[in-house]
């Protein structure tokens, strides 16, 4: 067996990734898989891919992001498939575009598997160390320096520091530095970034206490089970046959709320100790009680942390109240009368770098070769982080290889929506993905993520050949199925079939496709009419059904995309001088100058840039 030659301190890499959270792991794997000598540095090697908060991957719009990561050749989907303990498809009663997968993970297994994948990736070195400074040369980044003064060189650096930069943990009125419970913060780096001229801000988030499973009485609680046939996230996973664990549901009550109100004077949130802006979509329980006094109960999910874990994650009671208040209010919940807290809930404040300072490649405008991804950009969530990490890793590698960068359009994926929102709007509060953020939502389904992005994954060299072949086979099957739907017809005289389908007379007969357009008929109802259709894999059949049933809507969305095409492809030169355009108002000029949009389409999405300004630019770009 050949010994892998690792690079030692002071060595030259092509890509350096700082932080092995969800963003950093994807970034490092992508760069290494694209053939770059890559270094991944992180504060604590046992915590690679650690889930800081809820042990779950996916959910509304986030499930879409995970599928997109998979379609591009990332790791998150495979990792959750291999370590999930409960899989559920959400929104099954709604249309196909907003169905999302969610899975709970075995927290330890998720982390351990990710570390193993990193360790076994050729071309990737994994090291523990705290980065405190970037190295610069000739107006661009050239490497990093660790706290110990070690220097590593690379033409491309990806920062994914998560909640760690100047992290400050709050439990009640007590606070202390930390990047996550039990881990040190990252000191020095954000000051350095500020000194380089970056606008650095402060955000806040929180997490609930972890409870001792043995102290909970589940017998009276309603159980929530996963789907009977779990659907994998990754196209590489054939099926999931690991045992699935249930969650349990309990509720807060008037007594809980009373105790919480009584503790507000010692809440860092309500006493003004916390300055950072928190996520409105992820309020703490004290926030919910204060803001919605008319609600007499809140639903709480008790989620297992893993197969072998004795801890339970109570989803819905994130809090930074003092420990005694946490214990007291938790004990008012049915089933939790005797609950023991194993780890306290807490809030954390951290430094982030406003993403308005980024290009849509996730490279910073100020320092060439430097990329930011994940929570450092003001987002929250593993999936948002992973998706950005993947894109930043791809572009860092492309730059190191002196290839053209990749930008993902809003019509191509949630990843495109995410990045475009970040760079045009900035982040004034933590950003989470929602399906309502995607104006082309009907085109961005989980099940067609591969059709939207796999060609790109292959083009950059991330998607393995075997995977590409499988994707091509799926496309061929969809084409075959589509052909059969149009060719196979039910004759007007075919009484038996018509009766079986519950149909009246058909004057001229009908193709299967025409029949499928009827709301009351599904593809499954038609399978007895054609063996070839019946033999197709279930995901191919779903795809066929969706494309027929929603054809009208899909076409209308495609028309909308088409209408923006001209603007999206009109590139604005990077050195375009807005200052000389007298016909633009000063306000618009300033905005354009600050964001320096890449295309006319991007310019049109900057708040305050009017259609008239766009028309003016269109004229001047022709000059």
């Amino acid at each position: 067996m050949a010994v892998r030659r690792t690079m030692s301190e002071g060595a030259h890499y092509q890509v350096i990734v700082v932080g092995a959270g969800h963003a950093g792991c994807e970034a490092a794997l992508a760069a290494a898989r694209m053939g770059c000598r890559t270094l991944l540095l992180t504060l604590h090697l046992d915590m690679c891919g650690q889930m800081s908060c809820n042990p779950a991957i996916g959910g509304l719009a986030k499930g879409h992001l995970v599928r997109e990561i998979d379609a591009l050749g990332g790791e998150m989907a495979r990792n959750i498939d291999a370590t999930g303990i409960q899989f559920r498809m959400l929104n099954t009663k709604k249309g196909p575009a907003v169905r999302s997968s969610r899975a709970q993970a075995d927290r330890d297994q998720y982390r351990l598997r990710m570390k193993l994948v990193l360790e076994s990736q050729p071309g990737l070195d994994l090291k523990q160390g705290q980065v405190v400074r970037l190295l610069e040369a000739g107006g661009r980044v050239s490497g990093i320096e660790t706290r110990e003064g070690l220097r590593f060189q690379a033409p491309a650096v990806v920062l994914t520091t998560g909640t760690f930069m100047r992290g400050l943990i709050h439990v009640g009125l007590v606070h202390y530095p930390g990047g996550r419970a039990g881990e040190p913060p990252s000191e020095g780096l954000s000051e350095h970034l500020r000194a380089l001229g970056f606008v650095v801000g402060r955000l806040k988030t929180g997490t609930p206490a972890r409870l001792a499973k043995s102290s909970i009485d589940f017998s009276r609680l309603e159980a929530q089970h996963g789907d009977s046939v779990p659907r994998p996230f990754s196209a590489d996973t054939e099926r999931i046959d690991r045992p699935q664990l249930p969650c349990h549901i309990t509720y807060t009550n008037a007594c809980t709320h009373e105790i919480i109100r009584g503790g507000l004077d010692r809440s860092p949130l309500y006493s003004g100790v916390i300055e950072g802006v928190g996520p409105r979509y992820c309020p703490s329980i004290e926030d919910k009680v204060v803001r919605f006094p008319e609600k007499d109960q809140h639903q709480i999910f008790l989620e297992p942390e893993g197969y072998a874990s004795g801890e339970i994650y109570p989803n819905g009671v994130s809090t930074s109240l003092p420990l005694d208040v946490q214990r007291a209010f938790l004990r008012t919940l049915p089933g939790l009368e005797a609950v023991e807290i194993m780890r306290p809930g807490y809030a954390i404040e951290y430094d982030y770098v406003d993403p308005i300072q980024l290009l849509p490649t996730l490279e910073t405008k100020a320092l060439r070769g430097l990329y930011h991804a994940g929570q450092i950009n003001g987002t929250s969530g593993y999936e948002e982080a992973g998706a950005q990490g993947l894109l930043a890793g791809i572009n860092a590698a492309l730059q190191a290889q002196e290839r053209e960068p990749v930008i993902i359009g809003r019509d191509q994926g949630y990843l495109g929506v995410l990045v475009d929102d970040l760079v045009n709007l900035g982040a004034k509060e933590p950003y989470r993905m929602f399906t309502s953020r995607a104006e082309f939502r009907l085109l961005l389904r989980e099940d067609n993520a591969d059709q939207r992005l796999s060609a790109l994954g292959r083009q950059v060299g991330l998607l393995p050949e075997a995977r590409w072949q499988r994707y091509c086979a799926k496309l061929a099957a969809v084409a075959t199925g589509g052909g059969r739907l149009r060719e196979v017809r039910v004759a007007p005289g075919d009484r038996d079939t018509l009766e079986r389908l519950g149909l009246g007379l058909l004057n001229n007969g009908a193709s299967l496709e025409e029949l499928l357009r009827r709301p009351e008929i599904g593809l499954d109802d038609l399978l007895f009419l054609d063996e070839q259709l019946a033999a197709l894999p279930v995901e191919v059949r779903d795809e066929l059904e969706t494309s027929v049933k929603y054809e009208g809507y899909i076409r209308r969305q495609q028309d909308q995309v088409e209408r923006t095409r001209r603007m999206e492809t009109q590139v604005i030169p990077a050195d375009f001088d807005y200052a000389t355009v007298a016909s633009l108002s000063a306000e618009v000029r300033e905005k354009l100058q600050k964001i320096r949009p890449h295309t006319l389409g991007q310019a049109s999405r900057i708040p305050g840039v009017t259609p008239a300004a766009i028309a003016i630019l269109a004229v001047l770009l022709r000059r």
């Binding site: 509304l60 249309g95 309502s436 016909s583 008239a612 001047l620």
Partner: protein, 460 residues
């Protein structure tokens, strides 16, 4: 959130001349379907396909059902030998804003789109009809025209109508947020969506817009004509001037400064040009809250007005309050009126960067004809912008936006009745909001999310 500029290849339409009452009005079309659009409406001895480029043809413009609208002259200027470089059609009709509206509607119904400010010139440039050196001039024109269009739209949308349209937006946002909340937060106990309530509310908005559209078609919905604002400090004779121009004692005139406490509006036709004459409270530093409000309104109106008559008392030296009024008046749209010329002049007329100066004595009736001529010249004379055409266009734009909203709402209701999934219903509602957004400004996803977070206890 798509703020997509429409494709540059569709066919646009706009009035090309101000519609005075009487006289001739021109409606211009540009784009690949211009000729087809003309063919759909033109009835004459020569049908459009047979028309020779750059020749005038006589005929009638008829509605779909055959009812004639007007006797017209039509000319086709085929690409590339036209102003825009595309196929251009011009229809010369009898002036008059009501008729112009009907003709615009006719072409809109056939699939033309109202031109954006400066869009004909923009196309001319993009099609290489104007040389590169003119790019800056074209850009400046688009900028100026858009500003003018925005000002006119604002002036048109006041009071009750604006409230009504904002109410539609609020209602539709509300319905959208209900759908979006149920789509994005399925695990939060939001309860079930009350489809009946949604459908009732959508039907109510639909009915209200339909009714409003009728008032548009009667020409009652929006203010007619261009606005002329009378501005000045108290007691300079603003109300007297209004009365004199109207030829009747409409506003109260006294020697007590601060007589007019609110704005007074009257309609007036000058040389066939429909005007809205607006008298305001005198500009001054005051502590009376009612008067303060009056002054605030005057300032706002000066910003939205198409023309300002800035009245000074020529027999008095300039006061601090006069200077306040001068500062409020936009120089490129202001005529300086020095009143009380029957009294000895206080000082030499000073030069201000205004359009023109007129000395009048309302008391003796001197100088009024000159003032009227200056007003008409501003709107119709050589070098006049197309403010009057702009008024018709703004009005049609509002109507067009409402009609787009209506179409989208009809689709929404049909989709709801057919049991289409939530995200498809949301798609239709977003289209309705996008159409309304042309008047009220767009609805961003963030605005919807914001409302969801404030309305529902969401998140874990």
């Amino acid at each position: 959130m798509t703020r997509s500029a429409p494709p540059a290849c569709d066919t646009i339409v706009a009035p090309a001349t101000p519609p005075g009452e009487g006289g001739v009005g021109i409606v211009r079309l540009s784009g690949s379907r211009a000729e087809a659009l003309l063919a759909a409406a033109f009835r004459g001895r020569t049908a459009p396909p047979a028309m020779v480029s750059h020749h005038l043809y006589h005929g009638r413009l008829c509605r779909r059902d055959g009812t004639p609208l007007d006797e017209v002259l039509a000319v086709i200027m085929r690409a590339p030998h036209s102003y825009t470089g595309e196929d251009v059609v011009e229809v010369h009709c009898h002036g008059g804003s009501q008729l112009l509206r009907c003709i615009l509607d006719l072409f809109l119904a056939e699939g033309a789109r109202l031109a954006n400010p400066g869009e004909f010139t923009q196309r001319a440039f993009l099609n290489g009809r104007l040389d590169l050196a003119q790019a800056e001039a074209v850009a400046a024109l688009i900028g100026a025209r858009s500003e003018q269009a925005a000002r006119i739209a604002l002036g048109q949308l006041e009071g009750r109508l604006s409230q009504q349209i904002h109410h539609f937006t609020t209602e539709l946002r509300e319905l959208l947020l209900l759908l979006e909340a149920h789509i994005d937060f399925p695990d939060d106990d939001l309860g079930t969506l009350d489809h009946q309530a949604v459908s009732t509310r959508a039907a109510a908005v639909h009915a209200a817009i339909t009714e409003l559209m009728l008032t548009f078609d009667n020409g009652r919905a929006l203010r007619e004509g261009v606005s002329v604002l009378i501005l000045g400090r108290p007691n300079v004779g603003k109300s007297s001037l209004l009365n004199a121009l109207l030829g009747e004692a409409r506003a109260i005139v006294t020697e007590i400064p601060g007589t007019t406490r609110d704005t007074v509006e009257e309609e007036l036709v000058l040389d066939g040009l429909p005007l809205r004459l607006i008298d305001t409270a005198g500009v001054r530093d005051t502590t009376d809250p009612i008067e303060q409000e009056g002054v605030r309104r005057a300032r706002e109106k000066a910003r939205a007005a198409d023309l300002v008559l800035l009245v000074l008392d020529g027999s008095q030296p300039l006061t601090a309050e006069d200077r306040m009024a001068v500062a409020m008046a936009p120089p490129e749209r202001t005529v300086l009126v020095r009143n009380k010329s029957d009294l000895p002049a206080a000082e030499e007329p000073h030069s201000h960067p205004f359009l023109s100066h007129v000395a009048v004595s309302v008391r003796q009736g001197t100088g009024l004809a000159e003032l009227q001529a200056a007003i008409v010249a501003h709107f119709c004379g050589p070098g006049a912008g197309d403010t009057v055409g702009g008024v018709v266009l703004a009005e049609r734009r509002h109507r067009d936006a409402l009609s787009g909203t209506l179409t989208a709402l009809e689709r929404f209701r049909a989709a709801q009745a057919a049991g289409e999934p939530y995200e498809c219903l949301a798609f239709e509602l977003r289209e309705a909001l996008a159409a309304l957004g042309q008047i009220t400004g767009e609805t961003t996803p963030d605005a919807i999310l914001e409302q969801i977070f404030s309305r529902f206890c969401i998140g874990k």
